[in-house]
């Protein structure tokens, strides 16, 4: 049973999903309903956060003036209208509509390892939710995949109605080969505009040096490194004697995964994750670990509240 689980019974089987078709296993009806609620859910989730408790880089653009409101603790002092304060004796801040050209780029690791242990389903839904959240915030959302040494854009959208196209592209792009983050990430980073919200969704099962993230330094990029961590990888069960085949490279090794080895693998995986988390934070990215089994509603809430 362990072997069956480890060999990917929870992975999504490849199927021919033509253009314009959604993979019902990746995006079932319940998930689509959740996606349709994202535009309404995002403000509600924000409203649940106490004023002044959530760090934001600004509540709107510079030019789309909407009106004034009373100052609340945590408001940016730059937005205090001192003229009004001098004239009326009340401290108010200017309210501006968000700029519509806030760009969110979601890049998905498309390597074959993402196809095991339910990681593909979880990561595809996570990318779709991030895309939908970006669109709901009246920004520009871009979705791309890192696969076979290439960084391929999959979809771009500004309106909620354009989310479906992203889902269709995700459905038609199964994980395969290797991501080659060492080559693809620098290309993506070079193309990022300043101030872009950047999300990299990956299982990080790569020998690439996490220092590759340092290309983001000094570009005012914010966002998150979304780490999808399957228990089968990060805390394997003692499978006994196995012949393990790497899903990406096809390399086979004869192993004895007893309790001691399983613990050692878990420790190594933790150190690996810690290293990537450290580098992500050093360039201003949040490190967000997710389990494939997390409910989509929880993922949505975490993406809205934890991704800067």
């Amino acid at each position: 049973m362990n072997a069956r689980r480890a060999s990917g019974t929870r992975s999504t089987p490849r199927r021919d999903v033509g253009a314009g078709a959604l993979d019902p296993e990746l995006f079932p009806a319940s998930f689509l309903r959740l996606l349709s609620l994202v535009p309404a859910a995002v403000p509600r989730l924000h409203a649940g956060v106490a004023d002044g408790r959530r760090a934001v880089r600004g509540e709107g653009g510079r030019f789309l003036f909407r009106g004034h409101r009373a100052y609340r603790p945590g408001d940016d002092l730059k937005r205090v209208d001192w003229n009004v304060a001098a004239r009326l004796g009340r401290v108010v801040v200017r309210q501006l509509d968000p700029e519509r050209d806030l760009v969110t780029e979601v890049w998905l690791d498309g390597s074959a390892s993402m196809g095991l242990h339910g990681v593909r389903v979880a990561s595809a839904r996570l990318a779709a939710l991030a895309f939908a959240i970006a669109v709901a915030g009246r920004g520009v959302a871009r979705l791309g995949i890192l696969q076979g040494g290439e960084a391929r854009p999959l979809a771009e959208g500004r309106e909620p109605g354009e989310v479906r196209a992203a889902l269709e592209r995700l459905s038609a792009t199964p994980p395969t080969g290797r991501a080659e983050l060492a080559q693809t990430l620098p290309r993506v980073v070079r193309r990022l505009a300043r101030g872009t919200r950047f999300l990299l969704v990956s299982d990080l099962l790569t020998r690439t040096d996490p220092g590759v993230l340092h290309g983001l330094a000094g570009r005012a990029v914010r966002g998150a490194l979304v780490h999808v961590r399957a228990p089968e990888v990060h805390a394997p069960e003692p499978l006994g004697a196995i012949v393990a085949q790497d899903a990406e490279t096809g390399e086979s090794r004869r192993l004895l995964v007893d309790a001691r080895v399983a613990a050692e693998v878990a420790a190594r995986a933790q150190r690996h994750a810690d290293l990537w988390a450290h580098h992500a934070r050093s360039v201003g990215l949040r490190y967000l670990p997710f389990a494939p089994s997390e409910r989509s509603e929880d993922v949505l809430r975490r993406l809205v509240l934890e991704v800067p």
Binding site: L116, H234, A235, P238, A241
Partner: protein
Amino acid sequence: MSFAAPLGLLGLLALPGIWWLHRRSRAPRAVTVASLLFFTDLPSGSATRRARRFDPVLALLLLGAAAAAFAAAGPQVGRGASRRMARVVVESGWLRGARGYEAAVESALAGIRAELPGDVELDVVTVTPTASSPAYLETLARLGAAWQRYVIARVLPAAPRPGVRWWPLDLEATWDLPPGPANVGIVAVGVVPTDTGGLRVQTTLEASREGRGAADVTVVVTGPGSDGERLVAGTTTLQPGGAAGLALELTAEQRTAVDAHAPGRGLLRVALGREDVLPADDTVDLEAGAETAALLLDPGLESEVASALRAAAEAGGRMRLGDAARGPWIHVIRLGETPPEAAGVQALVVPAPSGHRGVAVPARAAPVRSSSPLVRDLAAEAGSVRLSPAALDAARGGTMLLGWRDGDQTWPLLVELPGGVLLTASLLDGRPPLRTTPFLPLLLDNLVDDVVGPDIGAGWRAHRLRPPSLTRLVRTGGGPRGVATAEAAPASLPAHRLRQPLLGLAALALLGAWLVPVAGALTGRARGLAAARR
């Protein structure tokens, strides 16, 4: 340590098979993993011999299988197991009264001792009923643990089964035979009133096959009392293996004298005027007017048992609550109670105490008149059934075996109590308890039959009338009306039996073998989930 069923140890041969199957099931399997990134420089399957040295699941499986195999072998430890003991069942009963019986038994025991190693003790079980069937004797020999099993019997089975050795009880070798048949006995008595107001006592005699030549045998009828008046006598001639009838008439005056001596219950004695090898069948007592028996209940008897006995006595009609002043009577006491003076006791029913571990009684073994499973505790001598003090002592300090026969089947009733004492369970116990069945009145009536003796006509009953098979000194088939007992001093303290603990250990080991992988999977999953959320 010893084993009741050593063949069970053959189950240990399954251990290598279990080991092989387990190893085979643990052969490397092909598993697709997300990445070998974290498996670099870890021990490979070919270099895991040391790591595989201890496998808890395999260890638990082997432990469970070994425990089950040992349990099947029925291991015993303790003093009982440390001493080798040979059980010898000796046919006894009325044969004990035969001349040369003791010498014949000693001779047989000496032969058995000579055959056995010197450190083997003999556990001699004496079976009191006369003419026990070979199957019953063999069953007694097979009871309990023993290193060797023997039966010393008068007649040996034609095709003995393995496991029990038969040894002949060679009475003839010790006899100093008188002229004529070796034994002559009274096998039937009848009483018929004569036209003149007297009594005609009809006696049937039989002779054993042993002996040479004919012999004149005198039959004497005497009056009541130990020194009763000689009333009438007659003589007949018997050949070895032959039979003869003799009718002796008492006059009306003699009959009147008998009644006057014991009003309401005339007493006569019919005896042979010849000494032979078996005196037990040479005398028969006749009694008139004994149709019912008094039922005496011990005050400490369990109320449920007492009520059932009382109701059954009333239903049967031949037994009623009474006192010992009139006989015959039947006394029911609690198990373990000291019986009344043995001399006055004619029958004792010993019900099992409440909560006593019962013995499954097959329904077809329920008593009927034709095959009465009377509860007779030990010595059936002198025509009465009584619990002898020696037998009671044996029950308290040793082993008492009680059983009865149902057709060809013998059902030993054996109940073990803490402290190493084995006590009998009566037929009032069992499943269903006899006291709750309609058969209890029949049982009591049969008891009355037993204590008052068989009806021989004209309101007279006979006591100490032996079956013809005894007179002939051979068995003719059939046992002694369903009940037999045996007693034996314990050879040693009862051994501690390890079967139950071993079965428990086997069950725990197998449960553990199942739980270990499950627990591993659960902890692994929990660990994985926690790690994924860190």
